[in-house]
Amino acid sequence: MTADRQTPLIEVRDLVKHFPIRSGFLDRGKGGVVHAVDGVSFDVMQGETLGLVGESGCGKSTTARLITRLLDPTSGSIRFDGRDIAQLSRKELKPLRRDMQMIFQDPYSSLNPRKTVGSIISEPFLIHGMEKDDAKRRKLVEELMDQVGLNPEHYNRRPHEFSGGQRQRIGVARAIALKPKVVVADEPVSALDVSIQAQILNLLRELQRDLGLTIIFIAHDLSVVRHMCDRIAVMYLGKIVELADADALYGHPRHPYTGALLSSVPVPDPVLARERKQTVLGGDVPSPANPPKACRFHTRCPKAVDGTCDVDEPQLEVKEGGNIAACHFPLADAEVAAAVPTSEV
């Protein structure tokens, strides 16, 4: 990981994605919209791994699909390598796809069961008209299989003959086939056994080092994210609530939501666990079709103050310790130390 982490490779600004709610045949158009992603801005630096965490339904997968343009953004801009790709047509996007690849969550669904591993990994070359020579392409594919830890002799096998971890390796091989600049990994290990997760994570880190990849890593498992990421963005209901270096985020979270997330991480030591004051959030995530006004977290926030948090929307600002958080009443070090097991204050 020697690439400079100063130049932004991807700049996302005010990204918005609203999904219309389909209603019946007669009252069409009356349905509202789901605010899946609602004004998200962040940079991804060259060569870094940016983590995107949050509960299910917070918009992290939608953000990933917007960046890779599998979805069309409602508004906002995505600058990739200095060029705004938010409104490009499918045809204009095709050459960009070589630089931007995706690893999917479910290795059982992301590989076509009717195709051999060889033809799955060859597909990127065929689509982009590279390496038309069959023998050379086969050699490339076998090298890729070797690179991700698969036996190249399994070229003609089908996905169902592999284990979950091996399947995810196939997905990784397909993603790095064209030597992309960015790989967006959408919960790449959450469908795998814990014992296999580490292998895949280490493979990703290895590849990142060897190929100088920039990775956007989406997950809901905080321990996995800590292992992988340089910086982490925490999302809640379509917005980023906190963005910080991994150590800063785990050491001294500033947003109460981040604090609650970290507080829920299990502690292996029972004595420590008993001493800990765990912050448990009440209620459910509000519906993204009708998100709370002002600060979206105020309905569940232990620190919410009536008259402020439900009236005035907090902006992302630099807080104590360098974390960027959107909160009027960020957590103080004492609160962090009491409730967050990973705290370093």
């Binding site: 599998l70 796809r97 999917f104 669904s109 992301s110 590989l111 009717r114 597909e123």
Partner: protein, 324 residues
């Protein structure tokens, strides 16, 4: 769950450490063939159909081999003094018809028409139905609405009536559509294909609707594949099994449909023989001349039965959850 382990041939003594050729997994085709072989009823149907196809192909040879007259040879001596056809004898194994033509010979030649009409119309119906179904299911939206409602209309249309209408409308001069649809076998094939394809289109559409939500379709798009490529390289291979099963199940329907049209006199034109047409011809006097109706009837029933048995067997054999 009688013998689940027979699906995988394990090379004994080769542990996971010698990964090279430890486990020779069977290809889906091998698996499918093994399952079909074990299904004796379906296999009997398959043997019958293979024999039938050979019979149709080698009809002239067969007729020569049996030393029977050709299908259109009229033998006045086989009719008695009152002009009534004679029944089965050593010369005419299945008797003769009103014109003194050998029924056995005509049944053999009739298999050509039945198979040709059924197989060709099934082929066209499957091709058209698959394309329409894939387009409707993949694009959804208004394209799906237009195509699906059109299919509904076609499903509601009485296809036999369409056949009769088309046949009579196209039986003059050069036929319809600039000679594209001429009376005879072409009309039959067109009508059957039109009647059968909406069913296939519906089934395919349903399958595609579920397939298109799979992540490998998204993966294909994220690689930059065109819609056409996604449809044909990712979706179509997953449709092969249901299409094969459904095709074998509509072949017998189409055989019967051809027989119905020929029975009504709008199918193949005389003197070409077809089972349905023979049954139709015989319907006037089958009280005395039972053999003229019985033998083509039996051929029809057995053929339809055989195709149905194959269809059922294929359905079981291609079902990944089946353990036969």
């Amino acid at each position: 769950m009688s013998t689940p382990l027979t699906d995988i041939a394990v090379d004994p003594g080769a542990g996971p450490e010698s990964e090279s050729v430890a486990i020779a997994a069977r290809t889906p085709l091998e698996l499918f063939w093994r399952r079909l072989r074990q299904d004796r009823v379906a296999f009997a149907g398959l043997v019958f159909v293979v024999l039938l196809i050979l019979m149709a192909i080698f009809a002239p040879l067969l007729v020569k081999l049996f030393g029977i007259p050709g299908p259109n040879t009229q033998n006045a001596q086989a009719l008695d003094d009152f002009g009534t056809p004679t029944g089965p004898s050593s010369v005419h194994l299945m008797g003769v018809d009103q014109l003194g033509r050998d029924v056995f010979s005509r049944v053999i030649y009739g298999s050509r028409v039945s198979l040709e009409a059924a197989l060709l119309s099934t082929f066209f119906a499957v091709t058209l139905g698959t394309i329409v179904g894939m387009v409707a299911g993949f694009y959804r939206g208004w394209i799906d609405t237009v195509l699906s409602r059109t299919l509904d209309v076609m499903l509601g249309f009485p296809s036999l009536l369409l056949g009769i209408g088309l046949a009579s409308a196209c039986s003059f001069g050069n036929g319809c559509l600039g000679g594209l649809i001429k009376p005879g076998l072409t009309v039959v094939i067109v009508v059957i294909a039109l009647a059968a394809f909406p069913y296939i289109a519906r089934i395919v559409r349903g399958q595609v609707l579920s397939l298109r939500e799979k992540e490998f379709i998204e993966a294909s798009r994220s690689l930059g594949a065109s819609d056409l490529r996604t449809i044909f390289r990712e979706i179509l291979p997953n449709l092969v099994a249901p299409i094969i099963v459904y095709s074998t199940l509509i072949i017998p329907q189409n055989i019967l449909f051809e027989a119905s049209l020929s029975f009504l006199g709008v199918g193949v034109q005389p003197p070409t023989s077809s089972w349905g047409q023979m049954i139709g011809d015989a319907s006037g006097n089958f009280g005395e001349v039972w053999w003229y109706m019985l033998f083509p009837g039996v051929a029809l029933v057995l053929t339809v039965l055989a195709f149905n048995l194959i269809g059922d067997g294929l359905q079981d054999a291609l079902d990944p959850k089946g353990d036969r």
